[in-house]
């Protein structure tokens, strides 16, 4: 461990002052690369290329495998909602809508909580508590999704039913919260409120929240102290300081972190698979039983798929990947833009 402080370097050739005949000839300064370094560079370069081959290979592979699917099915692949290989109906319209609905629920729930928690950690928490909170948020991000799924099915679902019922009772006139039953019945039908996109979204919200929160907190912590102190010195309250300095400064991080969470929510499989009961129809009624997302489709249909169906699943995976990639790229642009503002300001 002490090596970290005292780095032992190999002995350099002792100075040969005036001994040899070549003493006065200046040493060549152009940095020739020694053989050892050439081997080293080659090895590292090949590691980089292997990683490129593996990761890039997936993208290329998905693309190549998807081309015949797109060619055979054409636009109907995007407009058909059913996935019935027996009847030749294969399409991802319903799962795409389901994916977006689930991710939207997750983000709507996670965003205010993540923002509040990030602000609390960076502005309100006492210093000792702050480090513990940061560790807890990191821990929350590391909890396996299957644990969230298990908790969601067995703990949250039986309780969130009442919330679903309440929402449909009072907001049922909005198509989003409508349910295909009469919510005013004295003994309301509990079954139809289970396994819905809404409940799956709640579970996924907990999973994406720490990710969004830690990005936001990091950007907030870069906020220049002098500006915060200036706001306080001008007589601003703490909230006034947050509203006029911290949030405008961290806007890129807030949006970027949220989008990073969105990307994760779009690709989440196992928790959604555990909560949702599979149904392939496009519907706006998120409180109602049944739904599906792209990743759930893949996880539930890979087993009995023929090679063309597998290719179709790969095409669905490609579409999903493209969506998450676009979201992530946008997020990283926004985050890096807000960080570059930190250095210039």
């Amino acid at each position: 461990m002490t090596q970290q402080d005292t780095v032992v370097l190999p002995a350099v050739d002792p100075p040969t002052g005036g001994e040899g005949p070549n003493a006065d000839v200046p040493r060549l300064l152009s940095p020739g690369v020694s053989r050892g370094d050439q081997v080293f560079r080659g090895a590292m370069r090949s590691a980089g290329l292997v990683v490129l081959a593996i990761t890039g290979g997936i993208g290329v592979f998905l693309g190549v495998k998807s081309i015949p699917v797109f060619r055979t099915l054409g636009w109907s692949f995007f407009t058909t909602s059913q996935w019935n290989p027996e009847t030749g109906e294969i399409g991802i319209a319903a799962v795409l809508v389901g994916t977006l609905e689930l991710a939207a629920v997750a983000i709507v729930v996670a965003f205010p909580l993540a923002l509040g928690l990030a602000l609390y950690i960076s502005e309100y928490a006492p210093p000792g508590f702050r480090r513990a909170l940061v560790a807890l948020v990191d821990l929350m991000a590391a909890i396996p999704s299957v644990v969230y799924g298990l908790w969601g099915v067995l703990f949250l679902m039986p309780r969130a039913l009442y919330l679903s019922h309440w929402l449909s009772l009072h907001l049922g006139w909005i198509p989003l919260f409508a349910v295909d039953t009469n919510p005013h019945r004295p003994v309301w039908e509990q079954g139809i409120y289970t396994s819905s996109i809404f409940i799956a979204g709640l579970v996924v919200a907990l999973m994406v929240l720490p990710m969004a929160c830690s990005v936001m907190r990091e950007v907030f912590s870069l906020c220049p102290l002098s500006e915060k102190e200036a706001a306080l010195a001008l007589g601003s309250t703490r909230w006034g300081m947050i509203r006029t300095v911290v949030i405008p400064f961290g806007r890129g991080g807030i949006i970027g972190g949220t989008m990073l969470g969105l990307g994760r929510a779009l690709g989440e499989t196992i928790a959604a698979l555990m909560v949702l009961s599979l149904a392939f129809d496009i519907k706006p009624r998120i409180l109602e039983l049944g739904g599906s997302t792209t990743s759930v489709l893949i996880a539930s249909r890979f087993g009995d798929a023929t090679s063309f169906q597998l290719a179709a699943l790969l095409a669905a995976g490609l579409v999903l990947f493209m969506v998450t990639l676009a979201v992530n790229v946008l997020a990283s642009i926004l985050i890096s833009r807000s960080r570059s503002g930190a250095t210039s300001g």
Partner: protein, 355 residues
């Protein structure tokens, strides 16, 4: 009260701690909120359930707090107080959910964990109806360890090598590599599993096995570890590299003896967190490992099950015993992740202490 204080201009306003007025209004409003909430919820709406009661009480408490604050404070202060309450609530709610997820899992898992055979047997002889005194998850523990070991062996040299290439060697291709690696962190894990399923299992003809699952995990972990390591290596001060090179060390020696040791804690954390991510992934394993109830110690042959996959499979059973086992397996998984996480924190903080 605030007005009286405000009139005395020479007394500085306390910034750090709260005044008696603030503390009194917080606790008073909380008590009043609970009382009013109970009245509204139980008597006026005539509803039941603790969640509704909590929500109504909270709303009442906040309203009362705002009203009380208005009595002696300007509107700016009231807004400040309201914001503080809402932000603190958000933090408390998240932490409560975290405690709930972890606590509930361990609580429901305690029955399965209290039987020692849960750790020493597999599920081959214990059916869904057999009591917890027989059968266990040894096969899943072994499977998880095999898979994660293979995945770590594959990903750590490649990932760190790739990061070293990006930060130390560079060159023409590095931009492309960096872009591709970064975009591949967006790859949904299920697609990684599907990729391995189609290429390794269906095309190369490898059976569904621990090895295939480990490869799927590797594909998923590789960009994560490579990217995190690159970030860590990039913050190694340039001065250290230059000093080493100026002393006559070759580039290889500089990387091996200066850059990597300096970045060691960060690299360790990156690897550990990547491992924790891979450990908990279910979907790539679901597609590639198959499912078995037997202990299988050969990752190249036959199906192998991991803890997350076992948890997932058991949780689909309607039998209560299987659900208990699922929670037991989830508890072990969670404990593994917690241990890894604690180790990562310890590595970071020990290094911080030694500097």
């Amino acid at each position: 009260m605030a007005r009286v204080e405000g009139a005395d201009l020479d007394v500085p306003r306390p910034i750090g701690r709260r005044s008696l007025d603030q503390r009194a209004s917080v606790w008073g409003s909380a008590a009043a909120g609970i009382a009013l909430g109970w009245l509204v919820h139980e008597r006026l709406i005539a509803s039941s359930g603790w969640f509704g009661l909590l929500l109504v009480s909270y709303a009442c408490g906040v309203l009362i707090y705002v009203a009380v604050s208005y009595v002696g404070n300007p509107a700016t202060d009231v807004r400040d107080r309201l914001a503080a309450v809402l932000i603190t609530t958000a933090a408390a709610v998240v932490m409560a959910f975290l405690a709930l997820v972890v606590g509930y899992t361990f609580w429901r898992g305690r029955e399965a964990l209290s039987h020692l055979n849960f750790f020493s047997q597999d599920l081959s002889r214990a059916g869904p109806l057999d009591p917890l005194t027989g059968g266990g998850v040894l096969h899943a523990i072994a499977g998880t360890l095999f898979m994660i070991t293979i995945a770590v062996i594959v990903t750590v040299p490649l990932g760190i090598g790739c990061a070293v290439y990006l930060t130390e060697v560079g060159g023409k291709g590095s931009r492309l590599v960096r872009t591709v690696v970064e975009s591949m962190t967006a790859l949904p894990s299920i697609v990684a599993g599907l990729f391995i399923l189609v290429t390794v299992i269906l095309f190369l003809g490898l059976p569904r096995s621990g090895l295939a699952a480990a490869l799927a995990m590797s594909v998923m972990m590789l960009p994560i570890i490579a990217r995190a390591s690159e970030v860590v290596l990039r913050v190694v001060p340039q001065g250290l590299r230059e000093a080493s090179l100026a002393l006559g060390a070759s580039q290889w020696q500089t990387v091996w003896r200066v850059v990597l040791p300096t970045a060691r804690p960060g690299l360790t954390t990156a690897v550990i967190l990547g491992t924790a991510r891979g450990l908990g992934e279910t979907s790539p394993v679901l597609l590639t490992a198959g499912y078995t109830t037997y202990l299988n110690l050969d990752p190249t042959q036959g199906p192998m099950v991991s803890l997350p996959l076992l948890t997932f499979s058991l949780s689909r059973s309607p039998e209560q015993v299987e659900i208990m086992r699922a929670f037991g397996a989830a508890s072990i998984l969670l404990a593994l992740v917690l241990v890894l996480f604690a180790v990562a924190r310890a590595v970071v903080s020990r290094n911080r202490g030694s500097r």
